[in-house]
């Protein structure tokens, strides 16, 4: 297991380097430059050149990359142009809020998706099975921003049950109940797609497992069906579900850009959206780099957990 873990960890290094090169080059390929943005429309060419020089933008690309990477590895992602503040502090502060949303959405996705999948599989071809699979298909197909807006119109505007935006009430005292109240709609919206995917995967895996020989043996022993499912079938059926959930958490970080914007949830996604609108390249760069790094790290964790859960993987590595 140790060897497997070290191999996986080492394999992450070139991936992260690749991510950093892609992020750096993508920002360089965008037309226009930071010096022009900083100097404003009326600046003379000399003033722009002076700012370009002071930002190091006049040096060769590989020098700029090396400087940027070495600073980034020491935790310095530059300064935001629009907000005049260190990017590292800004993205780390916002990451916490995104994680709150992503974790809440993951919990909801598992809490809704897995039981729905189990119920569908054990009641195959019943009306409830078909209805829940139609709902799952719907959840999987609807754009999250649309779902978010519908939730706002129904639950905020019409029924006045939940707030439409923010993390805490701007007038209230705050605290955990306030946070949970504000978290409900965005977390439900974000949970839509992964819940649907989990429900469908759980259903198909469980159906397959329920036809396996060892399950037939369990039934032949005279065990009752709920016990057959819970004790024997479920453990094996859920193994791929765990992996999938890990990958879904990565996608939740991406999906949160739209959900955070719709609900003004002050996370990394909303920050990226604002930064793109304001053409704040250092902030966009820092945000994308952080999100990509987390995605890579989550995949690493999934790989490692797979090794723990399934010995075959560990030994073949």
């Amino acid at each position: 297991m140790l060897r497997f873990s070290i191999d996986r960890l080492l394999a992450t290094v070139p991936v992260l380097l690749g991510v950093s090169i892609v992020v750096f080059l993508t920002m360089k390929m965008i037309p226009g430059d930071a010096a022009q943005v900083l100097a404003g429309p009326q600046a003379t060419q000399e003033q722009v050149a002076l700012i370009r020089q002071s930002l190091g933008l006049d040096r060769p690309l590989y020098v700029q990359y090396a400087t940027w990477l070495s600073r980034a590895m020491r935790g310095n992602l530059g300064r935001s142009i629009q907000l005049e503040a260190p990017v590292t502090d800004m993205v780390l502060n916002r990451l916490r809020n995104t994680l709150i949303l992503a974790v809440a959405a993951s919990v909801l996705a598992v809490a809704i998706g897995v039981p729905a999948g189990i119920f569908s599989a054990t009641h195959k071809s019943s009306i409830i099975d078909r209805a829940s699979m139609v709902v799952a298909l719907f959840g999987n197909s609807m754009p999250t921003f649309w779902l978010g807006l519908v939730f706002i119109l129904v639950f905020s505007l019409h029924f006045r049950l939940f707030p439409s935006n923010g993390m805490y009430s701007l007038r209230g005292p705050g605290g955990l109940p306030d946070l949970l109240w504000h978290l409900t709609l965005p977390a439900l919206t974000l949970a839509g797609v992964p819940a649907a995917v989990l429900a469908r995967l759980t259903r198909s895996n469980l159906l397959e497992t329920l036809t396996d020989d060892y399950v037939r043996t369990a039934r032949a022993k005279g065990l009752r069906e709920p016990r057959v499912v819970a004790r024997h079938a479920l453990g094996n059926a859920l193994l791929p579900v765990v992996t999938l959930m890990g990958i879904q958490v990565g996608y939740l970080l991406g999906g949160s850009i739209l959900v955070e914007t719709v609900f003004s949830w002050p996370g990394l996604g909303l920050q990226l959206y604002d930064a793109i609108g304001a053409r704040d390249l250092p902030l966009v760069q820092g945000g994308v780099l952080l999100a990509a790094t987390i995605f890579v790290l989550i995949n690493l964790c999934v790989d490692l957990s797979y090794g723990v859960l399934d010995p075959r993987i560990r030994y073949s590595a």
């Binding site: 404003g40 060419q45 300064r79 629009q82 907000l83 005049e84 905020s156 805490y168 701007l170 304001a278």
Partner: protein
């Protein structure tokens, strides 16, 4: 200049106004333009020497702010300001002539200890040709320009000419000052939780009378539906940039108020005056007669615009009701096309910025005008360009392969006419005359305007410039955009000015 006393007496003082903003505001440098969402907040934190009075709905007059009076030399080069006495910055630093000099030097003198390169670029229009700034005594300052500059006073009223506390700039340095802004304005900056809120507190010592409310909070709500919902559910009290689709909904709600503000904005096309075929005046005039502005403003833009006859919008300070512009006359457009040598019509290449130049209707407006052009025989191809690519093209001027650029310009002062039409401001000397417009008679008038210290005379000269530009079809003027702002009925005393800027100084909160 004082807040309406009657209004203030009617509602109870205190309370915090919660505002839904369409984007997160940028840092609060006093001298850098970070767009209208940030710039309007500068008007609440800072004062300027002179100001447009934003407590007036239309044609806001130019009034003394930190300057109480001024004298202009007959050649319009030397300005001597008498400053307001007894004013203090929010950090307690006394406001005086040295503070003003510190601010001007910081944005114009490269040898100044706190020289701000970005600020100097941003304020080049006002401080670009200074010959000297002298403190005459504690409360008077003399500013000398190398050339006549009769537009100096209205330029000083721009938000970015705000006066900041020298002590605060010295304390925090240029890098950190924008996160700790200190002015003399009616509200003090009280902190920011990024992405959540920016908080402002009332300045109890404000020289023109302290605001009645305890303060206001700016809450970024970028999604239009969420912003309107937050107002309808009472989560916020005031919102900006109401989406056109929500206007009817808000108007039907008895608890809410919605008002339009005519923006000092001109939306249209800059033709290529350097390379044919748009060098032909009759072709440009044909394009101007081809546009159905009334239908565009009423149906496509749902009333959020007025037809443009010229450069300045009705109800804004530079508007001239006597300008003879273009109506909708397709027959006349076809005649002019034939006269220009295109009896069978012609193709044109028009570049439009992605994102619609700040309008929610950008694409629909262009599509509508494309149909208008087509109806008279002009087959225009509209090519979308990414914003920054578009900006680079503005800076380099329109090239041979493009016939026009679509722009939405803020035209809030006469000085904009200098930037739009002066031959010597063609690229690379600026990016505001990218169409290479050049007319010797207009250049002469523009020079004359810069030397005209008599305000009425200066105004008449600029009206002549505007009429010449319209006759020439220097630009193809389409519409002036409007903004929709809405608030709860409990918000009293808010004046919704015809401007991108506004102030919460006059607001009170009722039950």
């Amino acid at each position: 200049m004082l807040a309406p006393r009657a209004v203030r007496a009617a509602a109870k003082p205190g309370g915090t106004l919660i505002c839904g903003w369409e984007a997160e505001p940028g840092a609060f440098d006093n001298d850098i333009d970070r767009g209208a969402v940030t710039r309007t907040l500068l008007h609440n934190i800072y004062d300027r020497l002179v100001d447009r009075d934003m407590t007036v709905k239309a044609n806001q007059p130019l009034v003394g702010n930190l300057a109480t009076s001024w004298q202009v030399s007959p050649d319009a080069t030397t300005y001597t300001f008498k400053l307001r006495q007894g004013v203090k910055f929010h950090d307690g630093t006394p406001f005086d002539a040295e503070a003003v000099k510190f601010n001007i030097d910081r944005d114009s003198d490269p040898s100044h200890k706190y020289y701000n390169k970005a600020g100097a670029g941003s304020l080049k229009l006002g401080y670009g040709k200074l010959a000297g700034v002298t403190v005459a005594d504690k409360y008077s300052i003399r500013i000398v320009h190398k050339e006549p500059f009769a537009d100096f006073l209205p330029v000083l009223a721009f938000g970015t000419y705000s006066i900041a506390s020298p002590t605060a700039i010295q304390k925090y340095g240029n890098d950190d000052y924008p996160s700790h802004p200190v002015g003399t304005g009616p509200f003090k900056y009280a902190g920011r939780e990024k992405g959540v809120k920016v908080t402002f507190e009332r300045n109890p010592d404000y020289w023109a009378g302290a605001p009645a409310i305890d303060g206001f909070v700016v809450h970024p709500l970028p999604e239009a539906v969420t912003r309107v919902t937050a107002l309808q559910t009472g989560e916020v009290d005031w919102i900006n940039a109401v989406h056109p689709d929500s206007i009817a909904n808000i108007k039907s709600n008895p608890n809410l108020v919605l008002e339009l503000a005519q923006l000092p904005n001109t939306w249209g096309y800059i033709p290529n005056h350097k390379y044919p075929p748009t060098t032909k005046r009759q072709l440009r005039q044909a394009m101007s007669w081809a546009i159905d502005r009334e239908t565009l403003a009423r149906d496509v833009m749902k009333g959020l615009a007025s037809p443009a006859m010229g450069t300045h919008a009705p109800g804004t300070p530079g508007y001239d009701p006597n300008i003879r512009g273009y109506g909708y006359d397709p027959a006349k457009a076809r005649q002019l096309l034939t006269a220009a040598g295109f009896p069978n019509g012609l193709p044109l290449e028009v570049w439009i910025p992605a994102g619609g130049a700040g309008s929610p209707f950008g694409l629909q407006m262009n599509e509508f005008i494309q149909q208008n052009f087509k109806a008279v025989g002009i087959n225009a191809t509209f090519t979308q360009q990414e914003f920054q690519t578009f900006q680079n093209n503005m800076a380099n001027g329109i090239q041979r392969n493009v016939n026009a650029l679509q722009v939405g310009f803020s035209v809030d002062e006469f000085v904009n006419l200098q930037r739009m039409f002066r031959t010597d401001l063609q690229p690379p000397n600026g990016n505001t005359n990218p169409g290479w417009y050049s007319n010797a008679a207009v250049d002469t008038l523009l020079r004359k305007a810069l030397a005209a210290t008599n305000d009425a005379q200066r105004r008449q000269i600029y009206y002549q410039v505007e009429q010449s530009a319209v006759d020439d079809a220097a630009w193809i003027f389409a519409v002036h955009q409007k903004a929709a702002r809405a608030w709860s009925r409990k918000v009293k005393g808010f004046v919704n000015p015809n401007s991108y800027m506004f102030t919460f100084r006059t607001v009170t909160l009722g039950a």
